[in-house]
Amino acid sequence: MTEFAEIWTYLSTDPLLWLTLTLAAYGVGDALFKASGRKPFVNPVLITVACLAVLLQLSGTSYGTYFAGAQFVHFMLGPATVALAIPLYANLNHIKKSALPMIAALVAGSLAAMLSAVGIAAALGLDTDILLALIPKSATAPVALGVSEAIGGSPSLTAVFVITTGITGAIVATPLLNLLGITDWRARGFAVGVASHGIGTARAFQVNETAGAFSGVGMGLNALLTALIAPLIARWLLGG
């Protein structure tokens, strides 16, 4: 019989193990989410990430080794983003009718996200380099990282802020919007997409198809607006 150490040597250098565990952990996260009656606090991304983080810690596996397996899942983010065009198209009539509210909500939501993050962080005494990395956090990851680099922030810091913002949005959206008494799925989805990009959009799709479609539009439009406005906020912040 082969020693476990030898089997582990194979497993730890092959992408198969961590790809399998990523899908299995997501299966657990998704099952818990469904068993909870789709409660927002039982967020499948958060549960799956926590399970995997514990496994990596226990097995002493580096993130690089993990990602060699998980990259196949990560890669699918690209085609999935492209696929958002389909619910967008299916809701074309809705979207045509709400162009004006969408533009207003985009500008208001996007500015609120950037300015309130910088405002709160500055009030709590965080350094300027952290403030810069915070500015684009509501935009979808590839845009946020590019913007962060362009305005002199740290992209790796921004990556952390983008993911935590997405998970926060996915968790708080339903109770918050219920509290505000907003029942319009278009408004709910759109605001979530603008504030918390793809992770918020994934959550919106779990709740309602129309909300998901509008969330996808909000995410796409805010990617554009953040790329345009973040440099201006950064310049103002640096006192130029």
Binding site: P44, T48, G78, A85, P101, V160, I163, V172
Partner: protein
Amino acid sequence: MIIHLATLLAFQLLGEVTSRGLDLPLPGPVIGMALLFISCVMWPRLAQTITPTTTVLLGHLSLLFVPAGVGVVGHLDKFGSDGAALGVAIIGSTVVAISIGALTFVGLCKLMATSHD
């Protein structure tokens, strides 16, 4: 199924080339989404054909953020004493942004409804 995935990848590829070629501030997949959307408006059958695959893919959109999310966990302890302030800034600003965005949307819908009366 395979041909549907190939279609999505082709639009992503087109988006990447456009983004880099024209030096646009948008990532390739977002431009690919816009191009696919325009193509669906021009050829409605395209949307019909690939819908089964996109429904499956978008139904498990959460899964696709897991690898990046795991990367974040390794950074969390680096924030030390800044962690609490950052948590407040991120949670606070997300709550503010969702509230203001949704209220603006609903407010404008009401305004437009009354102006039509």
